[in-house]
C-alpha cells in the first residue's frame, strides 16, 4: 500500500498547483481560502503574494498567464464578486500559461456575510468549474484544471467549500524531496509572452470575434465533459439514484452507500448526455446540492422529469448526513422506491446551554474605541474584520456592515440622507477597498470622520501581512503605506489627520471629539498591534 498523508483541502489544492508546475500564486486572505497560499509558499521556488484585493489578485494572475507561466489565484466566495470584472473578460481572452481561480464558498456562513453559491459564476462567466469532494480530489482536480486551462484556452475555476477546505483527508504521500521535478512539472514548459492584440486587447472589435471563440470552446467542452473521468457513474440500484458533486457526495455516500450515484467532478459545463443516460436508467433521481438549485435548474431545462431537488432538500445552509437522511425520509415520493430508515436515536441536551459568541479579545487595543463610540451614542458605519464584533454586546456600537470597504462609502450615503455617522475600518480592509471610498468622499465634498483601526495585520483570517504591515507574504520587508501623505494627497488638511496610540483612551477620545467638531472630512488612525500577532512576533524573535 502506498503511504498516505492527511492534508486539508486547502493544503491539497496548493500541492496540486505546485505539482502542476505552477510557481506563482496570488490572492487575498479570506476564510475558508487563506491557507492555500500559506501552504503553497512552503514549497521550493514557489512564490505567492497577498494582493491588495481579489481584483488585483486575478489581474496579476492573468498577467502571469499571458506571460507564459501557470498562475493560481485564490479567494473566498465574496472575493470573486470583487474580482468579477477581470474574470468575465478573462474568459474571452483565454490563457497562455494555465490560469486557475479558486473560489472557497462558505455554505452555512461560518465566517462570511452571505452564502452565495459561486457555481453561478461559472455559468455566468462561461468558465469551466471543477468541484472536488475530498483532499485527494482537490489535489488531482487542481492539476487537471491547469491542463484543461491550456487545452481549451480558458481560465478554470476550482470550487471548494468550508467543509472541504478545512477537513483533512488522506492523499497519497507526495515525494517532497523531488516535488520540484515531478513529471507534471517537467512536462510543463513555460512559454513566452507573444503579442497578440486581437486576442489580448478586448476593445469591442476584438471582443466580438473572441465572443464567438468562447462559444466554440464551450461547445467542445460540453461534448468533452461527457467522457471526462472525473464525472463518474455507479448504477447498482435501478430504483433510487442521486446526482451530486463536491463534499455533498460524501454525505450521500455515507447515508446511502448502495444507491446509484452520478458524481459530477465538473459542475460547468454539465455532461448532459451522461445525465440523461443516468436518469433513463433510474426510476427516481434526487439532485443533492447545497444552496441554489444550480444543477437542478439546468437538468430540468433538458426536459428530464423523474427528478427531485429543492422540493426535498433545503436551499439554505450547509448539508450533513442527517439533513440528507431526514429530507429523504420526509419525501413522499421516496416511499414508493425506498423504505425510509428508522430515525436515529440521538441524545439532546436536557439543559439550556448559553452560547459562546465570539468577542474582541480581552486586551485588544481596539476595544476601547467601541466603548467611547457607545458612550457618545454615535452611529457607526462598520466594516469586515475582527472589529465587526463591535456590533455584539457589550458594545453594540456598529450599525451597518455590508462588504469590504463599505464603512467609508455607506457613511457618505448616510450623510447625504442627513444621518451622519462615523466609519470604522481596519488597516487591511482600508487597503483592500477603503482607499477608493476615501477618494470618493474627498472628491464629493463629504465631511465624514473615518476611523482606521490599525492593528498592523489581517487578524481575523490569522495574521496575514498587508500594505500597512511593512512585510510581504514571503516575509520580505515592504513599504508601509503613509496615512498622512495619503490623506493629504486626496485633499484632507493635515490638521484633520490624526494618528493616536489606541491604548491611550483619553487621547483617543479627545482626537475623536476634536475631529467630529471640525465637521470636515477627517482621518483618525488608531494604532495598536494585534495582541496575537505581537506575541507571535516576540516568539519568533526569541
Amino acid at each position: 500500500m502506498k503511504p498516505k498523508t492527511l492534508l486539508s483541502g486547502n493544503e491539497a489544492i496548493a500541492l496540486g498547483a505546485y505539482e502542476a508546475g505552477c510557481r506563482i500564486g496570488t490572492g487575498y486572505p479570506g476564510t475558508p481560502s487563506t491557507e492555500i497560499l500559506e501552504h503553497f509558499i512552503t514549497f521550493r521556488d514557489a512564490y505567492a503574494e497577498w494582493s491588495v484585493n481579489e481584483k488585483t489578485a486575478v489581474e496579476t494572475a492573468i498577467g502571469v498567464s499571458l506571460g507564459g507561466k501557470r498562475a493560481l489565484a485564490v479567494m473566498k466566495h465574496v472575493g470573486v464578486n470583487v474580482a468579477a470584472d477581470p474574470i468575465f473578460t478573462a474568459s474571452y481572452i483565454g490563457v497562455n500559461g494555465g490560469l486557475v481561480i479558486v473560489t472557497a464558498d462558505d455554505p452555512g456562513m461560518h465566517s462570511s456575510q452571505n452564502e452565495q453559491d459561486n457555481r453561478n459564476y461559472a455559468l455566468a462567466a462561461k468558465i469551466p468549474m471543477l468541484e472536488p469532494s475530498d483532499s485527494q480530489e482537490a489535489r488531482d482536480y487542481t492539476k487537471l484544471a491547469f491542463d484543461l486551462s491550456e487545452k481549451y484556452d480558458t481560465p478554470v475555476f476550482i470550487r471548494s467549500v468550508t467543509r472541504l477546505s478545512h477537513s483533512k483527508t488522506l492523499v497519497s504521500t507526495p515525494d517532497t524531496k523531488n516535488t520540484a521535478d515531478t513529471p507534471s512539472r517537467t512536462a510543463y514548459k513555460s512559454t513566452r509572452f507573444k503579442r497578440d492584440i486581437k486576442k489580448y486587447v478586448m476593445i469591442p472589435g476584438n471582443a466580438r470575434p473572441r465572443r464567438v471563440e468562447l462559444e466554440k470552446r464551450l461547445l467542445k467542452l460540453f461534448k468533452a465533459c461527457n467522457t471526462l473521468p472525473i464525472n463518474t457513474m455507479e448504477t447498482p440500484n435501478k430504483k433510487l439514484g442521486f446526482i451530486t458533486s463536491g463534499v455533498t457526495y460524501q454525505y450521500v455516500k455515507e447515508s446511502f452507500p448502495h444507491a446509484s450515484i452520478l458524481k459530477l467532478g465538473m459542475v460547468y459545463p454539465l455532461p448532459f448526455k451522461l445525465i440523461k443516460e443516468f436518469c433513463s436508467q433510474i426510476q427516481t433521481v434526487f439532485i443533492v446540492e447545497e444552496l441554489d438549485p444550480y444543477l437542478e435548474t439546468q437538468i430540468r431545462a433538458q426536459g428530464i422529469t423523474n427528478i427531485h431537488g429543492k422540493d426535498t432538500f433545503p436551499s439554505i445552509g450547509e448539508f450533513n448526513p442527517q439533513i440528507i437522511k431526514q429530507s429523504l425520509a420526509s419525501a413522499q415520493c421516496l416511499n414508493a422506491v425506498h423504505s425510509p430508515t428508522k430515525a436515529l436515536e440521538t441524545s439532546h441536551s436536557p439543559l439550556p446551554i448559553p452560547n459562546r459568541p465570539p468577542e474582541l479579545c480581552k486586551g485588544c487595543p481596539h476595544r476601547s474605541i467601541f466603548q467611547i463610540l457607545k458612550d457618545l451614542n454615535i452611529t457607526v458605519s462598520g466594516d469586515i474584520g475582527c472589529y465587526s464584533l463591535g456590533a455584539l454586546p457589550p458594545f453594540e456600537s456598529m450599525h451597518t456592515l455590508v462588504d469590504m470597504g463599505a464603512s467609508i462609502t455607506v457613511a457618505q450615503g448616510l450623510e447625504l440622507a442627513g444621518k451622519p455617522s462615523v466609519a470604522v475600518i481596519g488597516d487591511s480592509t482600508f487597503a483592500h477597498s477603503g482607499i477608493t471610498g476615501l477618494l470618493n468622499a474627498a472628491y464629493n465634498k463629504r465631511n465624514t470622520l473615518i476611523i482606521i483601526l490599525d492593528n498592523h495585520t489581517t487578524a481575523m483570517t490569522g495574521m496575514q501581512p498587508n500594505p500597512l504591515t511593512g512585510e510581504t507574504l514571503m516575509g520580505e520587508p515592504a513599504f508601509e503605506l503613509d496615512y498622512i501623505k495619503l490623506g493629504e494627497a486626496v485633499g484632507i488638511k493635515k490638521s484633520n489627520i490624526k494618528i493616536v496610540n489606541a491604548f491611550k483612551k483619553e487621547a483617543v477620545q479627545k482626537a475623536l471629539v476634536d475631529l467630529l467638531d471640525s465637521k470636515k472630512l477627517s482621518l483618525l488612525i488608531l494604532q495598536g498591534p494585534c495582541l496575537i500577532y505581537h506575541k507571535k512576533k516576540m516568539k519568533m524573535a526569541s
Binding site: K4, L6, S111, S167, T169, L170, Y251, S347, P350, N355
Partner: protein, 190 residues
Amino acid sequence: MNILLVGVGGQGIILASDILAQAAVLHGFDTKKSEVHGMSQRGGSVFSHIRYGDNVYSPVIPHGQADILISLEEMETLRWLDYTNPNTLILYSKTRILPANTDSYPEGIEKAITNAFSNIIVLDPKEIQPKITHPKCFNIFLLGLLAHFAKIPVQTFKQAITLGVPKGTLQQNLNAFDMGYSHLQSTIRR
C-alpha cells in the same frame, strides 16, 4: 470509530485532534477530520470531528453516531449531545470557562450527563493539573486516557505525539500522555 473532541478556543482541541487523526493514519486507518476555523477563535466553542476505520465518507460525524465524546469543558459536553447516543462514551473535564457576557455558570450539568449516559469518565482538573508539568498538556493527558478506547496502540499514539508537538515540549507531552493512560485505573467509572 467516530470521536468528537470539543471545548473552548485556546484549550488545544485542534492540536489534540491532529495528533489523534495522525495516530489513526499511522495505524493504517482511512481517516478524516473536520473542524471550522475563523471567527470561533475569538473565545467561541471549538469542535473537531475525527473519524477512522476501513472506509470513511463524510468528514463530519452523523448525528447520534459518536462513539466517544471528549469535552475539555463541562457545559460544552451538553452542547454536542445531538451527535451522541445512549451508548456513547462521555469523557469530560469539570473545567469551567464562563462565556463572555454571562454572569453565572449553569448548574446541574453533571447530573444531566449522568442521567443520560451510562458510560462516563469525569475528570477533575484540580486533581490533574498538579500532576502534569504544564497546564497546556491537559489535552495530551486526555489523549492518554482515550488511548484505552481508541483501538490504536499506545506506541502509535506516542509516534503521533512526536510528530505533532514542538520538539521542546515533547518530553512533557509524553509524560502527560503516560499519566493520562495510567489515570484510568484510579478513575471512578460509572
